[in-house]
Amino acid sequence: MELKDLYEGFRNPQTIKSFASEIAKEAKNLKEPLRVMEVCGGHTHTIMKYGLLQILPDNIKFVHGPGCPVCIMPKERIDHAISLAKMDNTILCTLGDMIRVPGSKSSLAKERANGADIRALYSPLDVIKIAEENSDKSIVFFAIGFETTTPMTAAVIDYVVKNKISNVFFHINHVLVPPAVRAIMNPGKAKINAFIGPSHVSVITGSKIYEPLSNEYKTPIVVSGFEPVDVMEAILLLVKQKNAGKAEVEIEYKRSVTRDGNIKAQELIEKHLEVREHFRWRGIGDIPQSALKLKDEYSHLDAEVQFRDKLSNEEIDDHKQCICGTILQGLAYPQDCKVFAKVCTPNNPLGSCMVSDEGACNAYYRYGSIENE
């Protein structure tokens, strides 16, 4: 079997068209427009890349959610990464796009150019190899991501603990989906009446984490895969639930997601990490119990504890012109921002939503303006 056999059917033009016409038929019966928040940046990317908005009826709108781990990282945490990277004899490791995100004065990419040893990893497990090859240096893993990437960080912690590796430290920035959804729904301004639930997050957590949300806000939630056919099917399921007056959690992404999720991964996370009292989200502000940290018994591995004197906790807000925060809360679209695509571009991002491929501004910049012109 080839990889394409796994996804080709989920990009089949005929199937996408059939869903489009089925949705158009069902959507005629909607009592109010459907304002769907796709929580995860991966879905934002799919919707924009495949131009799905163009083949959906006018009474279905997407509101782009906060589910891009790079986009929600506040500047002070990026400054932490920069301070850690600038320490003597230190290698800072992190994932992908994090390298480009601007902090208050600099970015990891700029510091790398200035000589800091900063590595963009393909897999968090590379940390171990780097630590073994550089036993005279401190390796700091700046861990980011939602529930999807947390198990891999937990696996690295597990290995470091078991093998008593003494030169690896962790700066944990793992965040959680349900508290973020509450932070957006509670003020009541975003007027969201349906959710597309994240793909990869749900593989780990299971769909059960959304059940309280669906009950509290009387809102249907469909956990969807990342392919265009997945998203189209999820929309159809949401419209059908709305028309039937239901508000349930449904799984469209059945090939990978169960109600209970990956129990082993969940256990590994619980073994090493615990919920943090407070975490400030870029643009949204403090959301209580919305992120994880190392358990106290591992404080000798915790970069935030071990290098406390190098890290400032002053809160730093975004550029005044940047409205990433409002966009992340579903209250505005990228093109509502005065600096969008003018001063702020993927090569010169003012705000984090322009940095990551999963950020709403980036996706609109790359693919989106066709429907906006």
Binding site: E2, L3, K4, Y7, P13, Q14, I16, K17, A20, G42, M48, K49, Y50, G51, L52, L53, Q54, I55, P69, V70, L95, G96, D97, M98, I99, R100, A109, A120, L121, Y122, D126, K129, I144, G145, F146, T148, T149, H200, V201, P346, N347, S356, D357, E358, Y365, R366, Y367, G368, S369, I370, E373
Partner: protein, 340 residues
């Protein structure tokens, strides 16, 4: 004065003294470069090569660094010849003469250098171009990463007015083979990824196929090898400089399954990946079919992928098979894998 054991110089690695112009460097020149690049002009060993060119010529230069230096389907030597001769070919110029400068890190394996030089000599045969002058510097460890090569080249213009400014509404856009093979190969061979794959770089000289196109009395309005920045960068530059819109049909763009697979895993786009032996052409609509037939003699994966319109001037649009469309943007400077 110390005596120099010439036999020992041929041993394992390149020494600092071999870039110094003294007898040690002569050994490198005679035993390696003259042996493989041998031709009348080079062997004259003058301060500069004397060339007889009476026609309009094209002139280009490029420097080559690649990691790893040996990869499936090529090496830094092959790229340094194919890359520069391809730049000439894309202007409709037959590659004639090349210069070649090596900057080598002290301690670089002699056998590897010989492999690279041999590979360059082999690749020169494809276009018939000659290396007529050159230079070698050996620098201390750490001053370069293993080996850098610069080649400059001149070629005789065989077709006029091929330019990125020349695209016209109605032109057809073609690509000479499937895209992204080089970028995907290099990525898959990065040590830290440990991917097993049969992918090969597309690295190749393009003059022979270009010559065939030109001999068939087809004059492309523009041609460009889609190197760094991939096809996305070429088409965006064309759209901007020619003040037109390029519309692509997504399902017509040829991409190998393995390249698609690597893109799926890491969140990349084949249109952003570098190519080293793949070019994009714009030809009159009436020439499109004939051009495709010629391209197909060299690669079955050649395809007509789009057309020039006025829909959104300065932009490249990808139309999907299910009725939506999106812009194809310029790729970002550094390709980083997605997070989840």
């Amino acid at each position: 004065m110390p005596t120099i054991d010439m036999g020992a110089l041929k041993m394992n690695s390149v020494q600092l003294s071999q870039g110094g112009g003294a007898s040690e460097s002569n050994a490198l020149v005679n035993d390696l470069f003259y042996k493989y690049f041998s031709n009348d002009i080079l062997l004259k060993s003058e301060d500069a090569a004397v060339l007889q060119v009476n026609k309009n010529i094209a002139f280009t230069t490029d420097s080559y660094t690649v990691n790893p230096i040996f990869f499936k389907g090529g090496d830094i030597g092959k790229i340094s010849i194919a890359g520069t001769t391809n730049d000439l070919a894309m202007m409709g110029a037959k590659p004639l003469y090349l210069s070649c400068g090596f900057i080598i890190e002290e301690g670089f394996a002699y056998d590897d250098l010989e492999k690279i030089v041999k590979s360059m000599a082999d690749e020169l045969k494809s276009s018939g171009a000659k290396i007529v002058c050159g230079d070698t510097k050996v620098v201390p460890r750490g001053a370069v990463d293993k080996i850098f090569i610069n080649t400059s080249g001149i070629g005789e213009i065989k077709a006029q007015n091929i330019s990125s400014h020349n695209l016209n509404e109605g032109d057809a856009i073609l690509v000479s083979r499937d895209i992204g093979a080089h970028g995907a190969t290099i990525l898959s061979q990065r040590e830290e990824l440990s991917i097993k794959s049969d992918l090969q770089s597309d690295c190749a000289s393009l003059w022979s196929v270009v010559e065939k196109v030109l001999e068939s009395k087809i004059t492309p309005s523009a041609m460009r090898d889609a190197t760094r920045g991939g096809m996305a960068a070429v088409l965006n530059e064309w759209a901007e400089t020619s003040n037109i819109c390029i519309e692509l049909q997504e399902d017509a763009i040829p991409v190998q399954n393995e390249v698609k697979g690597i893109c799926e895993i890491f969140g990349f786009e084949p249109t952003d990946f570098a190519n080293e032996g793949t070019f994009v052409l714009s030809v009159k609509k009436s020439d499109a079919k004939r051009t495709l037939e010629i391209l197909k003699e060299y690669s079955q994966n050649a395809a007509i992928i789009g057309k020039v319109t006025k829909k959104r001037v300065g932009k490249v649009i990808v139309n999907t098979a299910y009725g939506s469309s999106r812009y194809l943007d310029m790729p970002k400077g550094e390709l980083l894998p997605r997070i989840c």
